[in-house]
């Protein structure tokens, strides 16, 4: 058989078969070289690149004879190895430029060792404990509920400017008669009548001014006058008592009770 010289023993035959499979599986010429190198049964660092080149060239020859279609890069590798082989066999030509055959051979050895190193590392990586295979995450994660929070942004300057705006508002208001600044006695009487039921102790008349009429001095004056007039009216009716300790002193009011003799 013409191919017999290739297949020297059983192991090599198996290797050759693997090669055919690998060609189909398209693992590339470097893969073929790595597989072939194993037949040398030496450390990759001490491999004979010359021998490997010959093995590879035989492999390509055999493939051709078996009419196995080889991809272009296998043939490129074959051409390169043929060149390398000639470099290694012939004495170095001092005239020639470029790397020596030894340098090229060393690099090919490095490539093979590196590929093998990566394969071993890949195997170790895949042999590690893996998520979803050896170790597992939380099977029933608890939902994180989304809560939308609105943050209101206001700076101190906003605050002060707003206050300044409010305080100077009057300056910018168009001129008009402010009728609202007068609190009538009728209004005061209405209010006092509603409140006297609660006034069991002497208390300051000013406390009975309506809320909205306390701060503005003009409005306060109007409200005080009206409330005082209304109180006098109520005293006349016998519903209220009124007293003032001294001139310009506080005017105090109190509900008049029946047990309380008129003073």
């Amino acid at each position: 058989m013409p191919d017999d010289f290739l297949i020297r023993d059983r192991q090599e035959r198996i290797a050759a078969e693997a090669l055919v499979v690998d060609v189909d599986g398209y693992e590339g010429p470097l893969d073929v070289l790595l597989t072939l190198s194993r037949t040398q049964k030496v450390d990759l660092r001490r491999i004979s690149i010359l021998q490997l080149a010959e093995q590879y060239l035989h492999f390509v020859e055999a493939a051709k004879r078996l009419r196995i279609e080889l991809a272009a890069d296998y043939l490129v590798m074959a051409a390169w190895l043929a060149f390398l082989k000639s470099r290694l066999l012939l004495p170095p030509d001092p005239e020639e430029e470029g790397p020596s055959g030894e340098e090229l051979a060393a690099h090919l050895a490095f490539q093979l060792e590196r590929l093998e190193g990566m394969r071993k590392a890949a195997a170790k990586l895949m042999a590690r404990d893996q998520l979803g295979r050896e170790f597992f995450g939380r099977g029933e994660p608890e939902d994180v509920s989304l809560k939308r929070r609105v943050v209101y942004d206001a700076s101190l300057v906003d605050l002060m400017r707003a206050y300044a705006g409010v305080k100077t508002k009057d300056d910018f208001e168009p001129l008009h008669l402010k009728r609202g600044a007068f609190y009538t006695m009728e209004q005061a009487l209405e209010r006092m009548k509603g409140l006297i039921g609660t006034v069991l102790e002497w208390s300051d008349l000013e406390d009975y001014l309506p809320e909205a009429w306390r701060l503005d001095p003009k409005k306060r004056r109007s409200a005080t006058a009206a409330t005082f007039a209304a109180s006098l009216e109520l005293v006349k009716e016998g519903a209220l008592e009124l007293r003032q300790a001294d001139t310009f002193g506080r005017i105090e009011v109190k509900r008049r009770t029946t047990s309380d003799p008129l003073s």
């Binding site: 994180v144 939308r148 101190l156 605050l159 002060m160 707003a162 409010v166 306390r214 701060l215």
Partner: protein, 208 residues
């Protein structure tokens, strides 16, 4: 061979190991498990109830508890930490003019009643404005005014001071100082864009 024979033939793992196993299964499972379902997944001879009880004890006071509901068991977040399970999305909004004015008046006049605020602003204060400021915890109810009707007053809060970087509300600049800072004059007309932006930035620096 009887069941008893099997029990002695295959020794059950030590209880600590059983507890680890139950822990791992309950952690990884996608639904609460019945003790019987757990037992089916454990090596022969394990005492599931014992393992569950000691696991439950181990998680006492932790961030996660082993809870039983009916005859099913599951790990659950400790109830007091449930607030951590909420993810907040934050949206920043500017306070409305009504709100910032109301807040300013409360800050400067506290304690102040609603009627007084209305008097100063010259417009009524909506319930919503007060509610918003309360919700922000920038204002709170003060003592009732000891006047007829005993109206509630509003004051600002610690959170207000913290937000605006003030030590006390007394640190707020008075009208004279506001004027000196240029905040009282050149007030933009309502509805027109404020052209004094650069001044605002200047002022900002003073307070940050």
């Amino acid at each position: 061979m009887s069941r008893e024979d099997l029990d002695t033939l295959f020794e059950a793992p030590p209880i600590a190991e059983q507890e680890r196993m139950v822990e791992a299964i309950l952690f990884a499972t996608s639904e609460p498990l019945k003790a019987t379902a757990l037992a089916a997944r454990l090596p022969h001879g394990c005492d599931v109830m014992h393992a569950l009880a000691s696991l439950q004890k181990r998680y006492q006071g932790r961030g996660v508890h082993l809870l039983r509901s009916g005859d099913e068991w599951a790990f659950r977040t400790a109830a007091d930490l449930s607030f951590l399970m909420q993810k907040e999305t934050v949206e920043t909004r500017k306070l409305s003019r009504a709100a910032i004015e109301t807040l300013a008046i409360i800050a400067y006049h506290q304690p102040v009643t609603r009627a007084e605020i209305e008097e100063i602003r010259g417009v009524s204060v909506s319930r919503g404005t007060i509610d918003l400021l309360m919700e922000l915890e920038w204002i709170r109810l003060g003592r009732r005014r000891q006047t007829p009707g005993r109206p509630v007053t509003f004051t600002t809060t610690q959170a207000f001071l913290a937000h605006f970087g003030l030590e006390t509300a007394r640190d707020l600049p008075d009208l004279k100082e506001l004027r000196a800072a240029g905040l009282l004059d050149n007030r933009p007309l309502p509805g027109t864009p404020d052209e004094r932006e650069p001044v605002e930035n200047d002022t900002d620096d003073m307070f940050e």
